[in-house]
Structure formats: C-alpha cells, structure tokens
Symmetry: D5
Subunit: 151 residues, 10 copies
Amino acid sequence: MTREQITADIVAARLAKGLTWHQLADAIDKPVMWTIAALLGQHPVPVDCGAVVVDMLGLDESAIPVLAAVPMRGGLPTAVPTDPTIYRFYEVLQVYGGAIKEFIHEEFGDGIMSAINFSIDIQRKPHAAGDRVVVTLDGKFLPYDWTAAEG
Amino acid sequence: MTREQITADIVAARLAKGLTWHQLADAIDKPVMWTIAALLGQHPVPVDCGAVVVDMLGLDESAIPVLAAVPMRGGLPTAVPTDPTIYRFYEVLQVYGGAIKEFIHEEFGDGIMSAINFSIDIQRKPHAAGDRVVVTLDGKFLPYDWTAAEG
Amino acid sequence: MTREQITADIVAARLAKGLTWHQLADAIDKPVMWTIAALLGQHPVPVDCGAVVVDMLGLDESAIPVLAAVPMRGGLPTAVPTDPTIYRFYEVLQVYGGAIKEFIHEEFGDGIMSAINFSIDIQRKPHAAGDRVVVTLDGKFLPYDWTAAEG
Amino acid sequence: MTREQITADIVAARLAKGLTWHQLADAIDKPVMWTIAALLGQHPVPVDCGAVVVDMLGLDESAIPVLAAVPMRGGLPTAVPTDPTIYRFYEVLQVYGGAIKEFIHEEFGDGIMSAINFSIDIQRKPHAAGDRVVVTLDGKFLPYDWTAAEG
Amino acid sequence: MTREQITADIVAARLAKGLTWHQLADAIDKPVMWTIAALLGQHPVPVDCGAVVVDMLGLDESAIPVLAAVPMRGGLPTAVPTDPTIYRFYEVLQVYGGAIKEFIHEEFGDGIMSAINFSIDIQRKPHAAGDRVVVTLDGKFLPYDWTAAEG
Amino acid sequence: MTREQITADIVAARLAKGLTWHQLADAIDKPVMWTIAALLGQHPVPVDCGAVVVDMLGLDESAIPVLAAVPMRGGLPTAVPTDPTIYRFYEVLQVYGGAIKEFIHEEFGDGIMSAINFSIDIQRKPHAAGDRVVVTLDGKFLPYDWTAAEG
Amino acid sequence: MTREQITADIVAARLAKGLTWHQLADAIDKPVMWTIAALLGQHPVPVDCGAVVVDMLGLDESAIPVLAAVPMRGGLPTAVPTDPTIYRFYEVLQVYGGAIKEFIHEEFGDGIMSAINFSIDIQRKPHAAGDRVVVTLDGKFLPYDWTAAEG
Amino acid sequence: MTREQITADIVAARLAKGLTWHQLADAIDKPVMWTIAALLGQHPVPVDCGAVVVDMLGLDESAIPVLAAVPMRGGLPTAVPTDPTIYRFYEVLQVYGGAIKEFIHEEFGDGIMSAINFSIDIQRKPHAAGDRVVVTLDGKFLPYDWTAAEG
Amino acid sequence: MTREQITADIVAARLAKGLTWHQLADAIDKPVMWTIAALLGQHPVPVDCGAVVVDMLGLDESAIPVLAAVPMRGGLPTAVPTDPTIYRFYEVLQVYGGAIKEFIHEEFGDGIMSAINFSIDIQRKPHAAGDRVVVTLDGKFLPYDWTAAEG
Amino acid sequence: MTREQITADIVAARLAKGLTWHQLADAIDKPVMWTIAALLGQHPVPVDCGAVVVDMLGLDESAIPVLAAVPMRGGLPTAVPTDPTIYRFYEVLQVYGGAIKEFIHEEFGDGIMSAINFSIDIQRKPHAAGDRVVVTLDGKFLPYDWTAAEG
C-alpha cells in the first residue's frame, strides 16, 4: 500500500462517511490546514494521529506507518494547475511574484520567506461587498548567509 | 517604446537614482505592493501617477500613455519560477494547494478566491526565533454561479 | 471509488443505455450544458440530482456523495487539446485572444470576464450557407479592484 | 520590416495618438473585433484599409503590402496564456471543453464549429448584479465528411 | 468499457485472428484508410459496421454503442511522434509547412485546407528506383469568412 | 549575415516588390513548392539560382553563398503549430497518423515513406461543393534493412 | 495482450531464466543488437523467431503474432533520457550533432544517414588506458532528391 | 563579443571565403570532426589554433581568448532536433537506445561509454546499393565505481 | 515482476517492518547512501545482497535476479523535482551550476566531475546556529580527451 | 543596463584581460565560489566589491548599483542542463535524489537542507587512480515547523 493509495482511500472514505476536515483536525488536535495537507499526502502523520484517522475512516491499520513516513511532496498533477480555485493562487504569483520579491528585498534584505518554518491560515472575513477569503502565509525570513559547518 | 522596454528602464533608473519602492509608492500615493507590481508591468498606471513616475525616474514622457494602458500580464520568465525567493511561493502551492482548495470549499462552498477583487499585503512580524514574512492574500469569495445576462 | 472512475462509468453507462445528455438534464432539471460539464466531472452534483443520475445510469449509490463533492476541475488531457472539435476553441483563443482582451479593456476598463459567475449556452442557428454553432459565453465583468477585508 | 514589427508599431502608435480600436474600425469600415485581431497581426489587412491605418497611425507606407499578406497566425506568447483576462477563456475550455464537444455531437452529429467560417462578437449586457461580458462565437457547423475531388 | 480499451482489444484481436485491415474495410464496405482510423479510435463506427467488426473480432456486443459514439480524437502518444514511419510526416510539416501555407494563400487566398471535409488515400506507385508511397490529402478549401448566423 | 536574416529579407522583399512565388520559381526554373521551401530556408539554393533570386529581390550578393549552403532545417516556431493553415496538417497526423502507419505496413511491409527522396505537390481541384486543396506527398518506400558497409 | 506487456514479460522472463541476449540472438540466428532492439519492442519478430523466443522464455503462444506485427517504435520514456548509459549518446548529439551534420554535407552533399537502411554494431576494443566501447552506426547515405512517381 | 557571436561569425565567414572544414582542420592540424565541433562552439580552441582561425576567416583578434575558454556546451536549439540530418541520430537513440544499454551491460557490466574520453569519426564507405555514412563513436568504458578521495 | 514493482514493495515493506536504511545497509555491508539508492531502483544489487534484502523484507525470491540486473536509472517523477527536500539541490544547480563549471575549468582544465566513478556522503555537522546537512559529492575528474581505440 | 548585460560584459572582459576567478575573488576578499556565482549574476555584489570589479574589468561605473541589487536568480538556460560539466550534477540528482531525501529524513527527521543558509566548496583531492573533484554542499538543516508570528 503506497502513500498515494492511502491518500485516495482517505479522500473517498471522508466523503462516504460525511466527515468534515474540521472534524478530522479536531480529532487529532492539529490545525485544520495542516491536517488537510497531511491527509492529502503532503506531511507525515504522527503515529498517534494516524491511528485516530485510520479508525475514523475505517482504513487498514497497515496505513499507519506509511502515513508516519515523510512523503514525496508535491500535490499538483500539472506544473501549471488547471483547477480554477487553485489556479488563482498561481495567477497571483504571475501578477505579484516580482513585487513580492522586490518587497522582501527592500524590507528584509537578500533572502526568502521560508516555506518550511511556515504556517498557513485561511479566514472568512466580512466586507460590505461580499465575504472575503483571507489567506495568511507566514514564514520565517531566511537571509542569504554563506555559512559552513564548524570544525 | 513597448511596455516591456519601459519596465526595463524603470528597473534600471530606480537603481541608478537610488530610489526605494516605498518612495515611489508614496510619491504616487498608492499601496507599495500595488506600486511595485504596476511598475514591473502588471497593472496600468493612471496618467497622473505615470507623470510623477516618469519625472522622478527621468523617463521620456511618451511612456505615460503606454503605462496607462492595460498591460499583457504575467511576469514569470518560466512557468515554474527559478528564483528562490519567488519559488517558495510556488512550493507553497505544490504543498498546500490541495488543502487551500478543500478549506475554501468546506468553509465557503464551491467557488474561488478572486485574484481580481484582491489585494496583497506583506508585513515584517516579530518572533522570538527570528522575524517573519507575513503575506496576506485577500480576495473576494466568488461562488460558482450559473447566471446569464438579463433580457 | 474516485470521481474519475465515476465519470468513466457515467460515460460508459450513458452510451450503453442509449440516454441523451438532454434526457439526463431534463431528469435533474438543470441546463444541459451545466449537466454535461457536471457529469464529465467539472461541477459538484447536488445530492438529489446525483440520486437521479445514479438511478438512471445504474451506478452504485456510493457515488452520490462523491458526485456531491467539489471536484478537481480541468478536463483536457493535454494542455493544447488534440480533439478537432475542442481544438477549434483553442484556435479561437490563439487568433482572437488578444482582440478579446483589448475589446474588454476598451469597453469595460481593466478587468476580466468571470468564468465563475458564468454560464455558457450553445444554439443551432440557421444560415443560407449551412447551420451554425453559436456559442454564448456570458460572464460577469469583474474590474480589477484593490480591496481588503474590513476591520 | 516584418509583420511583428508592424504590429508592435501599431500598438505603440495607437496609444501615443490616443486612438480607440473603435475609431480605427470605423475608419476602415470593418467590425471592431475583426479590426483589433487584424491589427494585432492575425488577419491580412486589405490594401485600402492598410493605407488608412498607416495614415492614421503615422506608419511608413512600406507597411501596406506586409499588412496585406496573410500573416503567420497565433497570438499567444505561451501555450497556456498567463494574462488573467485571456486566461479565463482557456479556463472555460478546461471546464467546459468536454461539454461543448458532447453538446455539438448530440445536436449536430459528428463534426466541428468552424473557426474559419466564423465571427466573434462581444457585447456589454446588463444584469442586476453587475454588467456582463457576453461573447458570441458563431461558426459554421462542419460535419465530418469523407469526400474527394472529382475526376 | 472505454473506447481506449476497445481500441486495444481490436488491435490485439486483429493480430490474433490474422485479419488484414483491407478485409475489415471490405466487410464493412468503407474505405480502408477510414476503416483503420475508425478502428484505431479516431472516428465513430456506425452501429451496423460496429456489429460486423464485433462479430469478426470476437468482441463483446457492448462495444457497439461505444464504437458508435464520437470519440475523443488525437492518436499520438506524444506531441512530436517518435515512431519513424509516423515521424516522417511530422518532418514534412517542419520542412514544408511554411511552403504549404504560402502556396495555399497564393493559389486560393486566405484560408485553409479542411481536415474535416477531407479524405486521405495512399497508393503504391512504381518508379524505376523503387516503389513509392504516394499519400493524397484532399480537403475542401475553406476561405476565412467573417459570417454570423442570420436573424 | 545568417540564413535566418536572409530568409526574413526574402519574405519582406517579395512583398515589397509584389512578386509571386510562381514568378520566383519560374525565374529559377524549379518546382514552385521546392522554391518556396528553399526560399523560406529549408533547402540549399544552387549558386546560379541564388544569383537570380538576389537580383530579383534586390538582396546583397553576399547572400548567394549562404543560400547555397545546406541550412539547419525545421521551420515551425513551436513544436505544435499555431497557424490554422499549418495546424490542419498536424491535425491530420493526430487523426490519421496511426492509420497511415498501419496502411504502409500492410501494403509495403515494415518501413517508411522517405521524406528525403520525396516531392510534394499541391493542386486546386474542382468539386461541386467547392474547390479542394489536394496535396500529394510522394516519397520512396524504404524498407527496414539491416545492412552494413562492405569490406 | 499488447506489445508493451509482451516486452515487459520478455524482460522479466529473461532475468528469471538467466538467459543472455547473446543466447537469445544465437537461438534465432540474428545479430545481437537487432535481437535486443526487437525483443525490447522496436522491431517486428518473424514468426519462426517469435516461436523460438516464446518457447525459450515460457511465454504464451498468443504472443507470436503480436511480436510479428510492426510495433509502434520509440523506446525512451522521456524525450531527454535520464539513464546515464543512454544519456551519454544524447550528450554526443548535443555536442557533436552540428559537426555530424556539417561533415555529412561536406563529404556527401545535402542529405542524411538513413536510420532505416541501417545497422548498428558495438565492439569492446582495447586501449592501454582501459577498454573502449566502440559503437558503429552504419546507414546508407540518402541524398535530398525531388522525385515523383512515374506516370 | 560572446562565444555565440563568434560562432555565428565563423559560420558566415567560412561560407563567404569558400573554405571547407577540412581546410580549416588541416590548417590547425586537428581531426576534422573535432575542428567542426570546436568551431561550432562546443570545445575550447587553443590559442595558437585560434590565431590561425581568426587569421584565415578575417575575424577580430579579440576572439582568440574567448575561443580559448571552455564554452557552455550544447548545440541543439530544441531538445528534440528538427533538422532531418541530425534527427536521424535522435531516432537511432529512440529505436536502439535500450539495446545499446543492454549490450553494454552484458558485455562490460554496469557502466557507461564515456562521452568525455571520446572521439567520433565519420567515413564514407562503399556498398553495392549505395555509399554509406559510417559513424564511429569511440568512448572509454567507465564502470560504476563507488570511490572516494583518499585521506 | 518489474524493478519498479519491487522498488514499491521495498518501500512499503521497510515501513511496515520498521527497518531503517542504516539497518539494511549494515545487513548487506554496503555504504548507506549506496544502499538507499540501490533499493530505490538506481543500482543493481548483487545476488548475495539481494538475498539478504528479500529475506529481511519478506519479498518473493524471484525478485533477486531482477534486483541484480542493471536498472533503467533516473528516479525523479518530473524533470524539475517538486519535493522541497529534493528541490533544494536543483536550486543549488540553478544558483551555483555556472560557478561549479567555471571553478572546475579554472582548477582542473576542460572536463567534468564523473558521476560514475563517484561516491556521495552525507554528514550531520554541528554549528552554533543549528546542525548542518553536509553533502559531499566526490567524483573523479575526467579531462576532455580525444582518444580512439588502438589498432 | 540590465544585470544580464553586465554579466555578459563581465564574462567577456575577464577573458579579454586574462584574469582568473581566483584573482577577482582575492581582490574583493570573498570566497571564490561565492565570487563566481555573484559575478555570473546570482548574488548581489556589495558596493565596495562592485567598485573593485568594475575597476579591474574596465566596466562602466553605472554597473555598481545594478550589481548591488538582488538579482533574479536562476542561471540555467534550460530546465535540464545540456552542458556536460553541469549535467553531471543533474544526473546525481536523478540517481541519488531519492536517497538524499531518505537519508536526511532518517538522520534529521522531516525537513530540508537549506540552500539559503548555505555554502559550497570545491576541492581537488588526490587519488591513486586520478585526482578527484570533491564538492561540499553545506546547508543548515531546517525542520518542518508549523510556526506563526507572535501577537
């Protein structure tokens, strides 16, 4: 049983059992965005959490150690996403990617926003003209630093 | 003079004159992220703002109407970005794209975060382990809606 | 059972049972273009509609919640379509895409035609030299609008 | 002087002179969508029209025969467009391409909508929730027909 | 049973039964090139022909309505073909594609050779230096024609 | 002066001087399809022919030896052509490529149609429903033959 | 049973039975390079040879007619090979492809080395600094020849 | 002056002066295939050879140190070559690449033919059915060898 | 049973049995990096080592000769890796690839670091600001050397 | 003057003046690998270093602020490098990428080697069978850490 097969089983079982992602996240006591990403095959799931997930979704217990292993990450079926909900974030990168780079360099100097020391949060926020999806990407600034191991 | 040439001239002149993006944004009284995106060729620049920019950067006045036209958007030289600062945002999409989609559908229903009725903001925020780059993507939720013109 | 497998089953069962798309659309009381797109895996199918479809096509009831979930959209097997009937619409984009963009900007200002607040209709219309396929794409104009959530 | 250079000159001169596409279309007495496509390098421009365009835009007369030649068509810089205004039409193809194909076959039989015996029109149409971009693609139905020359 | 599976079954059964394409074409009374293309999944096969094919090749009768449906066309596994026999025709396009375009425009004006109102024929023809493969592509000339439905 | 620059000059000069491809072919006493392909950079042009072309089109004499050298062939700007007139031939390959291969193998055995010992001809042929573009591809059959040099 | 499945079975059975390619080639009395290529799915295998192969490798007899059919050639899983042993030959093409072309034209005139009337041989040859892999590609020179069928 | 510009100048000057590659190779006393590859930008040209080349072709002396530097190698404009003379060698890789790999492993064990400790030679060899292009690729066998620096 | 299937079985069985890569490497007395690469399908596994692996992981003995054969190498599912842990090494190539090339040429002359006569080692090394991943790539320098077999 | 133009000027001027990378690195008192990468356009060059470089290479002083700006990184002209010296490192990634990932996870847990807090060093090291290129990649281990800004 590969991680890909387990992911497919999770996707199908969640719908069949009518469970929300929030319910799964609450059950394993993890942030919901982390939970969804992990159950879609993008993060290792600690053994105790994996046991809960396997139990709730009726999966085979042999899935637990596979879930606990670090997966091969990268969840887009094509380099440029085709799904409109996902594509808009790629479009943001096409339109604002250069500006993000320039802003980070002007504000922080040469470096990047880490995508590893990182969290992501989504909120529904009100606006007179219609509710808004507010996505917060929060990553540690990592300055380019020419360093070598000591000794 | 094409928009691409004007963008190249802006990039060069800003460095030569030692102006920050914040100074340019202040001068035209626009948000700094909007200003950088626009001056990198991703938004039309209103004529009055364009006149200020042309003056500050010492460009030819003939650039003003070209800056005011809606540009052909899309600022990445390759479909998958190679610059590390920009790549991390593509990586976020690879790792969290599926989770973003699932969260939006669970919270809002079927639809997307607009990238048109949209703003982006970046803040430097403190953390004991090092300052963080906090990027806020803020777009109107657009539900899938099968609508046609009236009459 | 994944959405892709259900789509394949729908395609096969429709042919085996000799049902037209119009018959399926009538049975669930939805526009025919919406119905075809949804049954080809591009829209969620509400539970009551899904129950009708499953019954008419002899599918397993477990397909209903999967049909009701928002699918991963994007129905072309290659980025540039190879099927001639579909390719002609890509060709329209190659030949008229720039003109569409310029027209929208001249008539409406900076913005896009929404593909979310959107409907599509096809009609057979007469002409002395042979009937015509008339496709109407009808989407809300969305102006570029730099807006943020309130509060 | 290549057609590509003339297209670039037209784009720049139109902005510099503040002419609208409608004014250019009226001047050569052609539909506006045809005019924009042609001036963006997608159709040959008849000599008399070309002479008017060259005069209005202040181009060199040597452009006239080049404008009158059938161009190498295909106006997208990348196979998948990056500009949001153009991309939405590619997205329509991803989401509704299969449905368009099925509808045409159910309604007309095996064949295609011609993109050669074809016109395109865009209208601004009202709706209580905001004006709409209504694009009409109108092409002759061409049935698959296994025919050979006579004699 | 998908069309792709039926195509694979046809390919295998034809070899197992030692039938030639000419024998299959004769049995259904269709041109041989049309027959091969159709049985390789590129054209719908009328129900009466499909019944003959299914009988000759020992396929299941449930294949008949699938064969009769218009298939998703496009038979090359890669955009640039790798098989030498097929590649030579792609090479012809690389070397003579521009010349074909120029000749058609000089002889017929602006337009295309239809690939829909079209037939293809291959003949073995003698030559002192060795027999030749003579392929005739025969398609209706379609002039670019800016036409709209009436009324 | 590279061959690419000479090709661009030929394209421009032919339009400026109002010469047809047939006139150029007659002047150098070569088949018109060969002539167009050669002048578009796909074949070497013998020195005597090159001299005639250079004279008729007003090019510099230094072009003659460059025209006489074997060029780097391959005239499509993208692997899948975007121009509709050229694309239809690629579409023929997508729809009939497999059938062409099977026919050649059934009729001739294992091998290919040469694209080197080859000629191409286009004719306008009449049909009651409209004139037809009839393209004849005529290449020597080359059987797969496992041969080595002698001695 | 497709040719691809038979190829996979041959690869597996050869290893399981511990047979060398040379033993297989000797058994069917063919050159070893031809034999390997054919058994990897790149050439048709004559019925008598196929019977020997099927017997030696313990395959099903139904494989014989499939092996005897001309296969869809092209054995690289990606356009640019990733396996180092194969990649080096692609690298040779990157570094020496232009020189090969120039040499052939200077020595033979305009034309190609046939890959159809062709054989390939590999020898282990000695050298003081280590044995060498010597690959001989031996193809008939085919001059570009504008020829048509007679009559 | 970049190496690419110098290569273009060499190509043009060689044709203008009517020099053969053999003459250039003789003048610098190097193998002709090495000479062509080097002058097409694939190898560094020693200073004394570069001086001869610059003199014979009438280039500027500043080209000598650029010619002497190790170039960025890789001379194909597209990953899959379009020129028929070069393409045939790519086709050989598609058809015989797997067999080459298997042969090398059976004869030499796990490893590769070096493309660095390597020479290439082309000969015209006779055959009753027409002269043949015989290309010899001669590279040192390099066994996979898990070795590390000493000490 | 193909090598790909065996690799998948190894990956799953290792997790199910809770074995580390170091334990597997110790059991077959090979370097750990070599062992992981080999068990992920990138190196042949000698028969005695294969027997140990098959025994430890509970695989079928028929896997041993397949493991012992030289595999088709190349372990990335996409040309540009999507997994962040792997991607960083591709990024190193984008940022430092040119510098690596220049350094090797300045220090060693024209040539390459062999990836065949090669070993790789990873160490955890301390640093006040956090432990470091230190990867050592150690390959024999191979000078470009135009050599041919003797005799 | 863009950074790309300055990079090209640096490459040309270094060769013309016969300066080594080590001399340039010594002059600006930076590690040589950092220096080469920076001068090839991959790192910003501090103003004082830029002044030295400009002086040594005879560039225009206006290059100094452009060199000091953070560049758009990514120095490979194609996604898969074609130059053999660079390609070997891509090959290492194909063959050992999976093993690197597994090793890091087994030794450090879930996370990456930073390519930002990173240095690279190359040494020539002796071996009885020939000197070796020893490349050390030294990056801080970054554990996946779901962290958000405080407050």
